[in-house]
Amino acid sequence: MKQHPLCSDCEPELDITRLPIPTALKCEWSAMETRRRFLGRSGKVLGWAALASLLGEAAIRSQAAGPDAKSSVTAPGRNNLGLPHFAPKAKRAIYLFMSGGPPQMDLLDYKPNLASQFDKDIPDSVRGNQQLTGMTAGQSRFPIAPSHWGFKQYGQTGSWVSDLLPYTARMVDDLTIIKSTNTDAINHEPAIMFMNTGNMNPGKPCLGSWLAYGLGSMNDNLPTFIVLQTKTNPKENNQPVSSRLWSSGFLSSEYAGVGLRSGGDPVLYLADPDGVDREVRRKMLDAVEEMNRQTLAEVGDPETNARIAQYEMAFRMQASVPELTDLSKEPQSTWDLYGPEAREPGTFAYNCLLARRMAEREVRFVQVYKRGWDVHGDVVGMLPVLCKETDRACYALVTDLKRRGLIDDTLVIWAGEFGRTVYSQGGLSAENYGRDHHPRCFTTWMVGGGVRPGITYGETDDYSYNVVKDPVHVRNFNATILACLGIDHNRLTYDFQGLDQRLTGPAPAYVVKGLLA
């Protein structure tokens, strides 16, 4: 039988190193050898092939990095990216995330003209052709629901604040209130993803991970990025919040947020079991590290590096976390400020206090999640509960940072993933109403290092429905946060899937200069 010209059965095996091709290609080929071994070991399952090709490039990079890869283990969060790009105003940030979407017109976006328009339909010219959520798209009417609560002016700035926020009202002169924040997404999952990672699809690194990656750690004994979840209140409408929001995406997993539990031990299994002392633990870790290094040398998977760093961090946290969460030495003035609920782990007040303690200990980024703002119905019943839980604690945190001299280089951010509609979802009565999701405008605030105190930025129309002046899109919101921390959002990038990935995404984003001090 005549052999097909392309059949290479009888020819000697091709030696890639002798072919006249660029060295870079040869390097890539040698990295493929790793992949081949990997494939062989995992039983040649087809699904693994795709994963391996994704990892391939990263593996080349980590091998090319050579000795650097090792030193990054000894100094986690080591910064060789050339950051900060310029002298930062804030060294750290605390992000109070109001998950669910707080209703802006009931809190800070005062609309005096609404009172006279109770139960009138919102004009078509205002609503335009906006797509609504499935929850209200079928409504035959869109009756305007004026806020149930009164507003008063406070401070030198004379900012209008709802009666629901008596404590926030005391600090309006310090706040940078942004009434024109707007987003692209109208449902929780994409919106909260967008807010945190700059992309509606999961898989991208969040703000905290970018900061950890870009700026590195200030305290080697605590994680660079810590997430605190507030205990849910069963009376509230809680939307799920999970680790996908503080994921490091395609960045090494050592930059992912470390969640502290809201009850019991803040970190599970942190204490050594009986019979294991600190020294035994150290020896065990050294042995594991040695084995991990061998694997790293063989396989070249950068995640092995991350794992080594995480074991080391856990070892140091055995000492640092108990000290961090021990509130017994807090002076009475702390409890006077935060209120009695701050003594109960898992409350928002407790988390705010913990966030202040983390700022003192130079934790780069703390994100506190408070769920329950998804007030589709019974706004009148739910909003006072939500405000009571958060209003005093926010004020306490800002005031505490201020009196301790931390506010100068800490940026505090208060934001949800979107706003809520001025028209009522479901029945509107004189006593009660509901509000649906609203992406076109929502109110956020910042305070501290880098931002201009005592200003209100942006304006919405008479219905708090559309932005009429100085819009702040989420991309620009995030670019501004990065700028406060000394980062040019266009230059903090990570090459992944052929794109210079960045927090603000490929679309143009700009720093909102009007917000900066």
Binding site: A87, P88, K402, R403, R404, G405, G454, E459
Partner: protein, 476 residues
């Protein structure tokens, strides 16, 4: 009779000598009379007239630069024409073109003032200046042929010079209407400005809230249109008396009642509103300025009050520009070694070496004492921030610290210092931030800090020096 005959004779002789055709000077005289009569026929009495006048009038600023450019070109052409005669021929045409454009510009300007009801000394001066300028241009045109023929040597150059001077003066009046009377002198070096009459308030104590906070705001943002030069709506805001008098719509300030005060209402409208002030895209008042005015009206809008409840005017001390430090790149290996040895880190503020280094001790705080700090002394010229919070350093460290002359921020919170040596920090001339929270400093020991020129953020929370509930002096 004889005198009259003689005058006519002289005039006739002059006209003959100037080679003027009778219709030419008759036309000039009648045009001049028309122009001079204009302000008496259509009086600028402060009342706005029809909108279309204003609509057309607003093209005045667009058009006016054309005749100005041409008029300035004329002497240039005449002078250059001495060498290149072709240019001198062009000058005649340019002069005619200048006049042809100056007349409609004048008309549009008059429509603008008449339509909007503008009055004021600057407006009046600008108007008469423009009329004089047009007449001067016509005269130039009239006498130029004689000069070109070599009959009259001086009349035309003198007239042209006068025209130019009139142009400068008139343009300046116009600029003052648009930008404010002190537009040119506002940023003049102070020793030069002393030569000019100042616009300081007379008879008002400079300590009063009006003089320190209200008048400067009105002066910078409102007086351009509501001042001695231009009195839009009959309102002048350039003095306390004028401010309280109000305009043709009545009083703009109601003492004690900010919500009833027209002035506050107009500056707090949404910027898109047609009644929003300052109008026409001029810089709006800041939220601070609005709150000062509100508080001032609330407290009675007096001329003499020096302090207003609820308003604390901080002494505005400019944040000093950060002094760049030298390049520490040569020292990087040593900096790396310090980290291995002492454990405390020297971290760059940014990639720009001149931003300096931060001394970060948080990882080794409990073991970082006076001796460890002393080891960092040789890096002192590059260290701009020292994070020594909760370290083991004592009062003994101040001798070392006083050599860190580039420090802008110093954290000493939670240390065991007593404050007895704080005076030594006086050598840190660039220090803007000092945190002494949770130490044993007291009111007496922080006294010497008053001499520090740039110290703006001093924190003494949880110390005997803490005056009351709030931190002492903080202006973040």
């Amino acid at each position: 009779m004889i005198v009259a005959e003689r005058v006519t004779g002289v005039a006739r002789g002059f006209i003959q000598r100037m080679r003027l055709a009778r219709p030419a000077w008759l036309r000039v005289i009648s045009a001049a009379i028309l122009l001079l009569a204009l302000p008496f026929v259509f009086r600028l009495d402060g009342h706005a007239h029809s909108d279309w006048l204003q609509f057309l009038g607003r093209f005045h600023p667009a058009l006016l630069h054309l005749p100005i450019g041409l008029i300035v070109l004329v002497p240039a052409l005449e002078i250059a024409g001495a060498k290149q005669p072709a240019l001198r021929e062009a000058a005649a045409w340019v002069l005619r073109a200048a006049l042809a454009l100056a007349l409609p510009t004048l008309a549009l300007g008059y429509m603008l003032a008449y339509g909007a009801g503008d009055t004021g000394t600057t407006v009046t001066r600008h108007m008469w200046g423009a009329i004089a300028l047009c007449i001067a241009l016509m005269l130039c045109l009239l006498v130029r042929p004689a000069w070109a023929a070599g009959v009259q040597r001086w009349t035309y150059p003198l007239l042209l010079t006068a025209t130019l001077l009139t142009l400068i003066w008139t343009s300046h009046q116009g600029g003052s209407i648009t930008h404010g009377g002190d537009y040119l002198t506002r940023y003049m070096p102070s020793h030069l400005r002393a030569l000019f009459p100042s616009s300081r308030l007379e008879g008002v104590s400079p300590d009063s809230f009006y003089a320190s906070s209200i008048h400067p705001v009105l002066d910078a943002k409102c007086v351009v249109c509501h001042g001695a030069g231009t009195e839009k709506a009959g309102l002048r805001l350039d003095s306390y008396a004028n401010l309280m008098r109000g305009g043709k719509d009545g009083a703009v300030i109601v003492p004690g009642k900010p919500e009833a005060s027209l002035l506050l209402a107009r500056v707090t409208l949404p910027p898109g509103d047609s009644h929003f002030m300052p109008a026409e895209g001029r810089t709006p008042l800041t939220s601070d300025e609005i709150s000062w005015i509100r508080a001032w009206i609330h407290s009675g809008a007096t001329l003499t009050a020096t302090s207003i409840p609820g308003i604390v005017l901080e002494e505005v001390r400019a944040e000093p520009a950060p002094q760049p430090v030298g390049d520490y790149s040569q020292l990087l290996p040593e900096i790396q070694r310090m980290k291995q040895g002492v454990g405390a880190k020297l971290v760059p503020v940014s990639t720009n070496p001149s931003d300096g280094l931060i001394l970060r001790t948080v990882d080794v705080a409990s073991t970082f004492g006076d001796t460890q700090l002393a080891e960092f002394q040789r890096f002192a010229p590059y260290i701009v921030e020292a994070e020594l919070a909760r370290t083991a350093i004592t009062d003994g460290s101040f001798d070392t610290l006083q050599k860190f002359t580039h420090l802008r921020a110093l954290h000493l919170e939670g240390t065991s210092i007593t404050g007895s040596n704080l005076a030594k920090l006086n050598s840190l001339t660039q220090l803007t931030y000092l945190n002494l929270s949770g130490t044993k400093v007291n009111a007496q020991s922080i006294g010497p800090l008053k001499n520090m020129p740039h110290l703006r953020h001093l924190y003494v929370f949880n110390t005997p020096a803490q005056p009351d509930e709030t931190a002492a002096r903080s202006a973040p």
